[in-house]
Subunit: 504 residues, 2 copies
């Protein structure tokens, strides 16, 4: 191995150990930490972030990367390691792209805007919000241009350079093309689903479900889904999340005493995220090449576990035994009762409460706005009108000027996290596509799901996604796994099958 590669691996190993610290300090903060621990914890996380930045932008890094490129050309690094070096370079470029003043200005403006938003949202105060938000948009554009200028060969638009941080490899053009297929079908499909469901009378599943029993049920579900409790934990937090390192995956969920379905669905979702992370190539865990591909793939794993698997009619059979065991008061509910209640569709204002059919419409609305905003095609002040127009055409709704259920509902934009939203729906698209390929190979999937035998799903995902880390670009990965890059047709087919034919 060349000395340059050794140096790079050593440096990335050190960075990974700081990331290990940040990961578990952040988990502790969300799950365990008492309130008064906030200030010392924030100071520690800030200092560790600054040490990480120093390591990543150390002057020698550029030299090592150039040397490694030469070593590759000379053959003193095996050609198979080319992507290893390439992913290190991209990670390094992402860290170098932002001038320190811009980072600083972004933190200040983002904190101010987010802080204000916490009250402005409830008061539907768009004008007040806009004052702070203009600066966030200006800095977001500046960031996008700086990132684009640093690697112009990789980005056609400024927005592409922000997408790169979350959806690496999936360009604005690609996402727009997938979304336009969806847009052509979804509004009409939605109408048909609403007509179809008008004839259903879903059962009321609410009751009294002790948290302790729900927790045991969530753990049962995780075990059925292949989660290894010797290498991970389930805890409770305000918002469900998944984090950890190889060997120690931590997921959280949240419980309500009156409802069991939401916590269980969140558990299935986070188990999908955790399974992907736990299945990444162990020996590469310190390096960019060994990490998850991007959020469009990550979300596809959580949505495959949640929507394709857990919410299927077949798996609904398998969950009945643990459900009745841990929550005896559900004894009168059939699998059908639960499935019907969990698959109700209704256009609504709030993205995070949206069902599987309307969710993509919420995301596409945001994608249209934020890409135009970053590329300079619209201004921040234009957002409410653009929101209202799309909301009406996609979902047939109007906020009637109540921005708290409109453009002020999400936290993402307040601190300048543009380019994240598309991953939710790209994840749903990829999940449906992967699931379709899996079912083509395993035609007995329904019997297996119904029996709670999902080892073959994990095996297929491991072979096709997990073990590859960042070895392939996202579209290459999808093509290898399914025969084609991301296309919307499988999600549309899935929604028709589930919501019109009820046969998934």
């Amino acid at each position: 191995m060349s000395q340059s590669l050794k140096n790079l691996e050593r440096q990335f190993h050190r960075i990974a150990q700081l990331d290990h610290a940040s990961t578990f300090l952040a988990w502790d903060q969300a799950v365990m930490m008492p309130d008064a621990g906030m200030n010392p914890r924030a100071a520690a996380l800030a200092e560790i972030a600054s040490m990480r930045h120093e390591l990543m932008t150390a002057p020698a890094m550029g030299d090592w990367l150039n040397d490694a490129a030469e070593d590759l050309a000379k053959g003193s690094i095996a050609p198979a390691l080319a992507n290893h070096v390439k992913e290190m370079r991209i990670t390094w470029q992402q860290s170098m792209a932002m001038p320190a003043e811009l980072v600083h200005a972004k933190v200040i403006a983002g904190s101010r805007c987010e802080h204000g938003w916490r009250t402005q949202k409830g008061e539907s105060d768009w004008k007040g919000f806009l004052k702070n938000f203009k600066e966030v948009v200006a800095l977001g554009r500046e960031e996008a241009l700086a990132r684009q200028a640093q690697a112009p060969e990789r980005f056609d638009t400024p927005y592409d350079a922000l997408l790169d941080l979350h959806c690496a490899g999936d360009s604005q053009a690609l996402i727009a093309s997938v979304f336009s297929e969806l847009k052509a079908e979804l509004p009409d499909l939605l109408k048909r689903v609403l007509e179809h469901q008008a004839h259903q009378t879903p059962k009321d599943l609410s009751g009294h479900y002790p948290i302790k029993n729900q927790q045991a049920l969530s753990e049962s579900l995780m075990s059925m889904l292949g989660f290894d409790f010797n290498a991970g934990r389930l805890d409770v937090s305000m918002h469900p999340f998944s984090t950890g390192v190889l060997g120690d995956q931590r997921i959280t969920t949240r419980y309500r005493e009156t409802d069991f379905a939401d916590a269980l669905q969140a558990t299935a979702h986070e188990t999908g995220h955790a399974s992907y992370e736990a299945g990444l190539p162990r020996e590469l865990s310190s390096y960019p090449i060994g990490s998850s591909r991007n959020m469009c793939i990550h979300e596809s794993q959580s949505l495959l576990f949640e929507k394709q698997l857990f919410l299927s009619r077949a798996f609904g059979q398998a969950i009945m035994e643990p459900l009745h065991k841990h929550l005896p008061s559900t004894a009168s509910f059939t699998a059908d009762d639960i499935w019907v209640a969990q698959t109700r569709v209704k256009p609504s204002f709030i993205r995070v409460e949206a069902d599987e059919v309307t969710y993509p419409l919420h995301v596409m609305l945001r994608f249209d706005i934020e890409s135009a905003l970053i590329n300079g095609d619209i201004e921040a002040a234009d957002i409410p009108d653009a929101w209202e127009a799309s909301l009406n055409s996609y979902l047939g709704l109007s906020t009637n000027g109540d921005h708290s259920i409109g453009c002020l509902q999400d936290i993402h934009w307040t601190d300048g996290a543009f380019g994240y939203f598309p991953s939710y729906t790209m994840g749903a698209v990829n999940a449906a596509q992967l699931s379709a390929a899996l079912k083509r190979e395993h035609t007995d999937w329904q019997d297996r799901y119904a029996a709670g035998d999902i080892g073959f799903v994990r095996e297929w995902l491991s072979d096709n996604i997990w073990q590859h880390g960042c070895e392939f670009e996202s579209q290459e990965l999808m093509k290898n796994a399914t025969g084609e890059g991301s296309v919307a047709s499988h999600l549309i087919e899935h929604l028709k099958t589930r919501y019109l034919h009820e046969t998934d």
Copy 2:
């Protein structure tokens, strides 16, 4: 403020943030982490330790310390900050004293010896142990000499240089003088206590005490003792411990379903440690001057909470209400029943199970041996004979060659942690002395303890110990608080009062 001091404070602040990370990663490892997290966690902790070492031994550190000394002399640093600079220098010296090869050799030899000990202990295999342990002793002596050579003005003996790591400021000569007072009294006192207690018939307190209820009881006790749950937590671990940072103190205890007294006593003990840490000067928390004085003072705080306060007859009254509330099956036990059962004295082989009267004898035995060993007055091979002789003269016992209950019982020496044992008994000595001074000032202490009103204890300890951090040397601290340096007479008086007169 001078630039040198600014640089030093910045560097120590960064080090403190790495320590924050190690602290909570170690807590997580003991309390939360699943088994498979071990390897990645070990790698992260090792890398953070190495980053810490790099910061501490950075070439500029020596220059900054020299500049700061000059700035002090010139008056560009306020004289009040002299000890701030002095404690930074000592911490730095401690890090610089060990050549890297010696650190490495010590880790290897210590790991090997400790690993072997885990089976050799059970098999009483002294010969097998000795093979590995000889190397640990040789390296311990090398370390002691290296540390002594680096600051000869501070250390009269090589053992002093190891004591410095745990008992800073309390020399071998001082400890030997305190211990010789104890030795002169304790064996005879022990005989009298045994005769006295021969007439008591303690009640059997064993029963079925659900863990959940014991936990609520421990939390009640902590609240009575002034623990702030907004700035800390209680959890469970294999061995009780206390850790954390200012604002976030984490203590642990362990429960047995058949007994409630041990867990409760451990909780009182760890609450003492945590209270000291939580009471250190907030604005100095990143610097050596702001940390706890030494383990002889630290242990005095835990033992003051556990032995002087919690185990007093008076406080025994206060605990009855929460005890009966959380463990209704204790309703038939009186405060006297519990006090008598918890203060039984019996010479035994195992230090960690020893009572308050015999515990110091176990410690003095180890102090005699380890100081002679490090100073080269005896060899490792001489330990079993020396152990047997002291055990007989102090406690009237013989191991009859069973080293598992003799010199192989403790983990401390296996990886070369010489100089720690004395802090247990110096802590008991200091606790009794501080408690005596506190009671002189607050003659109504018995009524207050009985009412569970211990705010005045915390206030007194804060004024006299906690808020001073490392502003004073340990003996100066004791003198300011009690009028004299550490002396054994208060512990002896306390033991007589409690175990002969039953009036504490």
